[in-house]
Assembly symmetry: C2
Homo-oligomer: 391 residues x 2
């Protein structure tokens, strides 16, 4: 009876709680800020890193493990889940949270970036994008309306507008037209959205052109969204250019809304972009590199298959508090990786994801103590002073 | 200070506790028996199933998960660990228990079966076996003395004698000579063994010939071992023949020692052989089949990739108490498997291993209640009454 009442209460809360964002504190000497996002599935402390769960699972981890690592929100991919197992199936089975047994917040992308990544397998029109599945070559059509329909079926806490990810390089004219299309699509997304408990974020495009990026910010804020993200970055342009645009455009985004830099990035990218006022990040780096045996530590990157770790009794990172570092030697991790054991992937992923989450905890602590500039300086000097342990 | 004392105590106990076996109870209407093995790393309730941890990991599971599933002892492979990462390395790093972070009992095989499996890549002499590594083709030599040296370096709780696994088919003459060699090797194993906290089991060979098997039992019990296993079964001979030999030979083994049927088997093999008085089993079936998406349930086998599970909201096995069955639908498991997600392997392995361990718990409960014959009858009628759900 008691548990039934608790259950009812929880579903009631899910039903009534809408999306909120609060800036809790600004760092005194930088643009870094501390915030909190409230969603029907729980709260998220920002700046936040979102592990990627492309196909309804953060690769190689159970949801309990993801939570234990400190993740407060994960990302799901509309493109992948639409193709397999299908959004109607997931909806029938109670939505993505229930399907994958993750009861925390979920952000879904719109599929825009994925169809962009298909290259010649897609064709863009005013109406939307025709594309071929990477799985079986079958033809599909994704539009702003359909991208929202899919995300509503998945039941994510934060949805993204369907956008055209402007490629790099693109000339000013193409980037301008592409941005206009993304803005028209954003309006259609907002118009068609039916749910009140799912937030919708707009995506700022405009390529590498600051005037276009500014125009995009103006147009999107005119329409009005629950949050804003910078898209079309980290798609091949030089790192300096990405940083330049992020530094210039982030301050133009509304202060009272979360700011999300899509698909970024490495630890040093994240530390840098928090300094520009970014609140949210996602990237496949910790999980993918974990599977490939490339591990992040306080002393730089460790390529675990290297022969130098053969007899190494020490943990991967003596300062890390993760399950892997507390229980296993580098020698064991190397053995598992060389022997192609699945446990290698599990332990490596645990460590890398924890590294990213812990970095965000340290970032938030620094902002709280008004010394983000010192933290940033320290971190950068560490990074530049270090070579990878394997160089 | 407290934890230091506890640690010392634990190492002290490990040091002084030797191998023991006690038959706790015999079933009234069958040869099934309840027992308990004591080892320096803990107790094992028999009849027991030992999950296989070939390369220093039960594939796809953390040791905590293996324990949570109810496993009380796991198996390690001498052949694999000798080749990679090497027994001297493991010894240097504190032994196999510490290396792989499993503090429960471990049984290691002798490598005999693995070199047998190499087929033409090995050559047998009185001294031992010359063989080529399956990894890189390098040449190696394994003898009774070296097999013990390796197992002592690994520090397993139960070691196996180095044997020649008599192939099937083999004529009476060959099987007889092979058995004599195995007995001479067993004597050499016992003579060379130096540790007092590691048990040593003898292996009964003799092919499909009951007279030879009886001779092997006599000779091995003359030498005297801590336990006895039946080897060279489940190597291609008809199932009936395997059962016939197990039924005939098991009762000849000393009552007061554990009896181990190596590499067996399916759930119905296990249930049957417990009835003949077998105490210990090991097999790769639950882990290997888990990776291949073949899952054991009370209603028969489930091949999870089957389209019929696409929309199936129900758990894999509604009576199973495992993490997978408590949290996921068949539809989700199918999705993960089709999408080649690592979590599919993890969840499937969890379920299959739990299925085997739970079967052993039910077997022990039945013996305790003196109704093993009824349990066996029930189980067999279930098995024969059922087709695989996918047939």
């Amino acid at each position: 009876m008691e548990s039934f009442r608790l259950l009812s209460l929880r579903y009631y809360l899910v039903f009534i709680m809408n999306f909120q964002f609060k800036v809790l504190k600004k760092d005194k000497n930088s643009r870094a800020r501390l915030g909190r996002i409230s969603t029907p599935h729980g709260e998220v402390n920002t700046p936040v890193f979102m592990p990627v769960g492309t196909q309804g699972t953060v690769k190689a981890l159970t949801p309990e493990r993801v939570k234990e690592l400190g993740a407060e929100i994960i990302l799901g991919n509309t493109y992948h889940l639409y193709l397999r197992p299908g959004h109607t199936l997931i909806k029938k089975l109670g939505g993505l949270h229930r399907f994958m047994n993750w009861n925390g917040p979920i952000l879904t992308d719109s599929g825009g970036f994925q169809v962009y990544s298909l290259g010649t397998l897609r064709k863009i029109s005013e109406e939307g994008v025709t594309f071929q599945s990477h799985i079986d070559g079958s033809k599909h059509f994704l539009s702003p309306e359909f991208a929202i329909e899919i995300q509503e079926a998945l039941g994510s806490d934060i949805m993204m507008c369907f956008d055209e990810c402007t490629p790099y390089p693109a000339d000013h004219e193409y980037a301008g037209k592409s941005l206009d299309l993304t803005v028209r699509w954003a309006r259609r997304c907002k118009e068609v959205k039916r749910t009140s408990n799912q937030a919708l974020f707009g995506i700022v495009q405009g390529g590498i052109y600051q005037d276009l990026r500014k125009k995009a910010v103006e147009k999107l804020t005119d329409i009005g969204f629950d949050g804003y993200s910078l898209g079309g970055l980290s798609v091949g342009e030089p790192k300096d250019l990405m940083m330049e645009i992020t530094e210039a455009i982030t301050p133009l985004l509304p202060e009272e809304k979360p700011r999300y830099l899509m698909g970024v990035g490495t630890p040093d990218d994240i530390v840098e972009c928090v300094n520009y006022g970014i609140d949210m990040f996602d990237c496949v780096i910790p999980t993918r590199n974990g599977r490939n045996g490339m591990l992040f530590t306080k002393n730089g990157k460790v390529v675990i298959k290297h022969a130098r770790y053969r007899n190494d009794e020490s943990p991967l990172d003596s300062e890390c508090d993760c399950y892997t570092c507390k229980n296993y030697s580098r020698a064991y991790l190397r053995h598992l990786f060389i022997a192609k054991e699945i446990l290698a992937i599990i332990l490596n992923t645990i460590h890398n994801v924890r590294y990213f989450i812990r970095l965000m905890e340290q970032i938030r602590e620094a902002i709280k103590n008004d010394n983000y500039d010192a933290f940033l300086k320290d971190f950068k000097s560490q990074v530049s002073g270090l070579q990878s342990e394997n160089d």
